[in-house]
Symmetry: C2
Subunit: 241 residues, 2 copies
DNA sequence: AATACTTTGTACTGATTGTAACAATCTATT
DNA sequence: AATAGATTGTTACAATCAGTACAAAGTATT
């Protein structure tokens, strides 16, 4: 079974986020392979090229179906299409950014996102001096008062919160109230997400302090963070403590 | 034993990064408590206030010493000082940012870092049009050719890489060659760190794709990511696969 | 001073995660 | 067609991690 259009599978329920984060890594690897003209790849070959574990690749993929061909490996483009589908990247996501400080502005102009899947369709701030201006010749910055209306009008399904910690929770509540279920949070606070909503927090402070700890600890010997450091929302054991 | 100036402990070796990341969270909680004038706090009280597990707090702290007083709890300021010391935040870190694109510029002006512990002392880029200009009235942007000299002169011990994926590895090698052992990487690539060097990668693509997966999966029921989503470099089981 | 009460530090248990090993199954070759 | 070779999908195992339970050790009270 090697066609890309298989009905997507079964119990995608109990699948760990560590697994799905690795799918993103695999997808990136496959993109490279595809660009290089490679047509098939074995889990072992992929593992060697990208510092991964072949068994883990196979197991991660096996949660979602049988994408490989025994004796051959995986068809690069086929698997790539499957991963796109699994990760929900075959459909366009409309993204809004709230908070046009330095970080928000940078994200608004960031070219690293997968442009085919994520489109930034609205920018918000509460500073009257900023509202109405354009973020580097792109989107107009809207008043945060229009947040909920615009979210519904433009069918925004992902919101990036880049506001100061003090107001993050309030913004979050408004966003959720408007029907958004997925939030990428850069404020260094805990946002209390209710069931059915997902918050992914990127905490730069913790990242830096982690490096500080590494430098400070007595025996700073031999820490080789491999591809594993792509998996940066691990923890998440269970939802309600 | 409640004084802040205890000799820092023992086998800080086998301590998981999940644990040390949580220390950053605890430190943040203690900052809040201290600012509110709270003098002592029990692990249970802290757990309730910040959605944590009290036993985990105690266990995490116990790796590094006995900071609490039975029957009382922890002295907020004392524990705070201890955590600062454990995390290496009592000494100033000189930070450089390489890559003055949108993200690099934003980070250069970001006010979210702990200003007391981290000072951004140098900015680099390879674009002649940018070199010599000043990033929003602050640091002058230096040529990347001066990277290694400046790292040594200014005693830079942490480097933030915010360059395109294609050149990240090359920058990383130069940085390491100059003696830097701690790198915060925003490029969506795997940097091959040798023992004794630590790389922490923040991958925005994976974060977004994780949200996309959540929205796409059939039964998007009830995912309550609690404080655990602060622990965003989990994985990292062992170094050499 | 002795007892009751509180909270820590830790041993134990259960769950999760990652790695190794192997049987099943495909392709290629004789 | 049958055999050899390769690679997947899966099972079994080992290591790590989080949560519970409890003894140890302090404070407050009588």
């Amino acid at each position: 079974m090697t066609e890309a259009n298989r009905p997507l599978p079964m119990k995608t329920d109990k699948i760990s986020e560590l697994t799905t984060n690795r799918l993103s890594v695999y997808l990136r690897c496959l993109n490279e392979l595809s660009a290089s003209g490679v047509e098939t790849v074995s889990s072992q070959s992929m593992a060697e090229q990208f510092n991964l574990n072949s068994a883990q690749i196979r197991k991660d993929l096996a949660y979602f179906g049988e994408f490989g061909v025994r004796g051959v490996g995986y068809y690069v483009d086929d698997l790539r299409q499957n991963l796109l589908k699994i990760l929900g990247l075959t459909q366009r996501h409309n993204v809004a950014i709230v908070g046009m400080g330095n970080l928000g502005l940078a994200l608004a102009n960031y070219h690293g996102f997968n442009r085919q899947s994520f489109e930034i369709v609205a920018l918000f701030d509460d500073d009257p001096a900023k509202i109405g201006t354009h973020a580097r010749s792109r989107q107009e910055i809207l008043s945060i008062d229009a947040l909920q209306v615009v979210i519904r009008e433009k069918e925004i399904d992902i919101v990036i919160i880049a506001v100061p910690a003090a107001v993050a929770e309030r913004v979050f509540e408004k966003v959720v109230e408007a029907g958004v279920r997925a939030v990428l949070n850069f404020a260094p606070v805990h946002l209390h997400a209710k069931p059915g909503t997902k918050v992914k927090t990127v905490d730069l402070t913790i990242s830096l302090e982690s490096l500080s700890y590494f430098l400070a600890k007595p025996k700073s010997d031999s820490v080789n963070v491999d591809y594993s450091d792509f998996l940066h929302v691990e923890g998440e054991r269970n939802g309600t403590p």
